[in-house]
């Protein structure tokens, strides 16, 4: 077997194991929260008998590990259970919102990742000169400002004053791709500003690290242009650390957009989660937790694999 295949399979197996561990944590975490679901549904005035009946009908009288395996088994089959608050099927409610969240995340990623890497290369090219300092200053400012403030600022200027984009990002399945793009422009812009700095700084640092290598001197003594050297000779050797940070930020784009969704009233996962946390809707919290964990682990797994594939020693063994 090709050694790289072995490594990739190993990582994949590790990722699955990690996901399993995360599912246990999520389940245990929601179990040890104080309060009783049956009580929550029936209210303070419920009789002991009614509570017992309710628990039995929900399977709450079973031991915890049985309930865990049942939950896991169902989740693997796409059945995330029913929300306590409105009795709706969670998988159904989530799928549309998940799609919206992924759409917004993809748009933000499509702008921010290439931009961050390009700015990182530019910062290395003009290291310690004004373009480098300007790039650092702008990205650090944008990451330092709270995202809700950024959200309101861009909303005020680009929507209220200039009227370029809608301030409320309402999207539905009837809209065309371009209409949707127009609708998510502002939240995507804010997300880009939020994740840009981290990826740009890492690109800059990783490439600067490589720029010390002897082969960069070799390239310089070939009379190549500075930007060519950075992009062609340094960049391919700095992929692993850059990809790691990019993936963490992509995961954040999916999982961490709660505030932005609230600001722009965007119908995504974050809003849905916040609504149900407020109502202490345990099955929904568990389902969202599991999905978010999958995204995080999946992204990091992907980062690992790209890092492995970017290493010529592993790709082309002796």
């Amino acid at each position: 077997m090709h050694p790289i295949l072995k490594l990739v399979i190993q990582r994949l197996a590790l990722g699955l194991l990690l996901l399993l561990a995360a599912s246990v944590l999520i389940f245990v975490g929601t179990q040890i929260l104080p309060g009783d679901v049956a009580q929550a549904i029936l209210g303070q005035n419920a009789t002991a008998e009614a509570l017992a009946n309710m628990r039995a009908s929900m399977g709450l009288d079973q031991p915890a590990y049985v309930r865990y395996f049942q939950w896991l088994f169902n989740a693997l089959h796409g059945d995330l259970g029913h929300a306590l608050s409105n009795g709706r099927d969670i998988a159904d409610s989530i799928s549309g919102r998940m799609g919206n969240t992924l759409f917004l995340a993809s748009v933000a990623a499509a702008i921010s990742v290439p931009l961050a890497i390009f700015l990182g290369l530019l910062a290395v090219r003009y290291r310690d000169r004004w373009p480098d300092k300007l790039i650092s200053a702008i990205t650090l400012t944008s990451i330092s400002l709270p995202e809700f403030l950024l959200g309101y600022v861009v909303m005020y200027f680009l929507s209220v004053k200039l009227g370029w984009f809608p301030s409320v990002s309402n999207i539905n399945s009837g809209m065309t791709f371009w209409q949707k793009l127009n609708a998510v422009a502002l939240p995507a812009l804010v997300l880009t500003l939020v994740v840009l700095a981290h990826m740009m700084r890492m690109t800059r640092a990783a490439i600067l690290n490589v720029m010390q290598s002897a082969y960069i001197e070799t390239a310089e003594l070939k009379g190549l242009r500075r930007f060519t050297i950075i992009a062609r000779h340094a960049m391919p050797n700095a992929i692993a650390p850059i990809v790691n940070v990019v993936m963490i930020n992509l995961a954040y784009l999916v999982v961490g957009v709660v505030v932005i969704e609230v600001v722009f009233v965007y119908p995504g996962m974050g809003q849905y989660l916040v609504d149900h946390v407020a109502k202490r809707d345990v099955p929904v919290v568990q389902a969202c937790g599991l999905i978010f964990a999958t995204v995080y682990i999946g992204m990091n797994l992907l980062a690992d694999m790209i890092a492995i594939l970017s290493n010529p020693r592993l790709r082309h063994p002796k």
Binding site: A214, G223, S310, H316
Partner: protein, 545 residues
């Protein structure tokens, strides 16, 4: 007379030095050096480290490493002044008119790109030829440099070829854009002697066939004598002597040049291998982790008290593994080690403090073998506290004694490693080993990183200390000259086995086995035409077989 290709006049190069604990100050790296090189000629630049030879070499590309400034004089290449030229001008001549071959090809090749792409890159970037032409030329050069499978060699990545092949590929990379001048910066220094001779021959052939001019930089006079027409000797950034190759080798005018030529002046009388052995290694085999093959197989040697056993071999021959086994860092898989009449436990953790004390080690890289944040007194004092419980004034007195023994005076006790030269650092490491009053010191390539004259001093010191303290050395090296200078008995190692073992006079006397013959005959000799003679001899022998 036509303009010379490269004309350097009164070159001055300065750098800002950041010495620890001092204010940054200006240092003159190269002072008032002039040289001129005609088309198709090869000039050797020779000197010890710090002589400024690499810096001068790079100045022919108007390039300075780190904070180096080409601060004065004139550098003319192809008739035009380049010292103060603009970035665009420099880019247009680097990689086109003048190219560079670095000492460590392993570091100078980009690990993420195929060799062909890197070899042809400069030629394509400067539009000297088309892609097809460049690749055809690269294959021709691979062939000239006798690289294996020249048609497909370029498809490999740097990590897929050996060090010697990579060094030749670097030469191909430098010659590919048809430059007027190539700077060779110690191109064979990092190679084993048996590889060095092949690379040297390949470089010489390539220079002859392409008619390119070259600056050949090295610290090894015997090497430069094989390839150059003229030689310039440098010291501390100044020119010492300049002449034809023949004049420098056969009739050097300056004292310093004579010292460089006659280095390794040690005359060591071999001690007879009599009496009880101090260290006996019997039938030892060892491997790392879950490796399928032994790195050492069935090795048996013995060392008598107060004597020196040299382990000689090339990289990968298992000599450093041998040191790890004897020190207990790598327990052997098979075999026994006897030390001072008692069996020595294989693993470090099973050894008593006494056993640890009696067996000390000195390493190749003195700077990384010392804690940079401790003073010399702390470094040497540590084994005194650890093994003998010495404290306060008693310890300080002993530290001073040891400093005297290694010929470093009073003021050194309070210095930090960064304030010492390479040779001084190695002396401190020797003092640290001696502090434990060991019966055996393992010296792992202790002079390989040092300049010849400094190395010579270290070897003399080691022999002196041996005579005074009666300590035995297990001396690991790849350098035959060092072995001749210091050993009483020799074990030649090859692929994890002892190829040849015995008293020095026996091992170095014919008849030789094939490997020892190859190893000994590959050591460059300070003699014009040595390279051709050895190669002719080998050709005849292989034709005879």
């Amino acid at each position: 007379m036509p303009d010379p290709l490269l004309d350097i006049r009164n070159l001055r190069i300065e750098a800002t030095v950041y010495a620890p604990g001092e204010k940054p100050r200006n240092a003159v790296i190269v002072d008032d050096v002039s040289l001129s090189l005609e088309r198709g000629k090869v000039m050797g630049l020779i000197g010890e480290s710090g002589a400024g030879k690499s810096t001068i070499g790079l100045s022919a590309l108007a390039y300075g490493r780190g904070g180096i400034r080409l601060s004065g004089g004139e550098i003319r290449l192809n008739g035009r002044e380049i010292r103060l030229a603009s970035g665009a001008t420099l880019r247009s001549l680097r990689g086109k008119e003048v190219t560079y071959v670095a000492q460590s090809a392993a570091a100078a090749f980009n690990p993420a790109k195929r060799l062909m792409e890197q070899v042809t890159e400069a030629a394509l970037a400067h539009g000297v030829m088309t892609q097809a032409e460049a690749e055809a030329r690269a294959v021709d050069l691979f062939r000239t440099l006798s690289l294996p499978d020249p048609e497909n060699f370029g498809r490999r990545y740097p990590h897929q070829v050996s060090g010697g092949q990579l060094q030749r590929a670097m030469t191909a990379m430098a010659l590919c854009p048809k430059p007027d001048l190539v700077i060779f910066d110690e191109p064979t220094t990092a190679l084993d002697v048996t590889t060095q001779i092949d690379v040297l021959a390949a470089i010489k052939t390539a220079i002859a066939e392409t008619g390119v001019a070259a600056l050949y930089i090295t610290h090894d006079l015997a090497v430069v004598a094989q390839v150059s027409d003229e030689i310039m000797v440098l010291r501390h950034g100044k020119m010492v002597e300049h002449g034809t190759c023949q004049q420098i080798i056969e009739a050097p005018r300056e004292e310093y040049t004579r010292a460089l030529i006659s280095v390794r002046s040690i005359d060591h009388q071999e001690k007879s291998p009599e009496g009880e052995a101090l260290l006996t290694v019997e039938g030892v085999s060892a491997r790392y982790g879950a490796m399928a093959k032994d790195v050492l197989s069935d090795v048996s040697v013995a060392l008598r008290p107060g004597q020196t056993l040299a382990l000689v071999g090339e990289s990968g021959s298992g000599k450093s593994t041998m040191a790890r086994v004897i020190t207990g860092l790598l327990p052997p898989r098979k075999g026994t080690i006897t030390f001072d009449g008692k069996p020595l436990p294989g693993a470090l953790k099973d050894r008593s403090r006494e056993e640890l004390r009696e067996l000390q080690m000195i390493y190749q890289m003195a700077d990384v073998a010392m804690n940079p944040r401790q003073t010399v007194a702390t470094i040497i004092g540590r084994p005194l506290e650890f093994y003998f419980g010495l404290k306060g004034r008693e310890r300080d007195a002993r530290v001073q004694e040891l400093l005297d023994a290694i010929e470093l005076g009073e003021g050194f006790a309070d210095r930090y490693p960064a304030e010492l030269s390479g040779g001084q650092k190695q002396r401190v490491c020797i003092a640290r080993a001696l502090a434990a009053k060991p019966k055996l010191i393992i010296c792992d390539e202790v002079t390989s990183a040092l300049d010849p004259l400094v190395a010579d001093g270290i070897l003399k010191l080691l022999l002196d200390l041996q005579a005074r303290e009666g300590v035995a050395y297990l001396f690991i090296t790849h350098d035959i000259a060092t072995v001749k200078a210091i050993a009483d008995s020799i074990a030649v190692m090859y692929q994890g086995r002892v190829q040849r073992y015995g008293a020095k006079s026996q091992v170095l006397a014919p008849p030789f086995d094939d490997y020892t013959d190859l190893l000994l005959s590959s050591v460059p000799e300070m003699e014009l035409g040595w390279l051709e003679r050895v190669l002719d001899h080998r050709r005849m022998e292989s034709a005879g077989n």
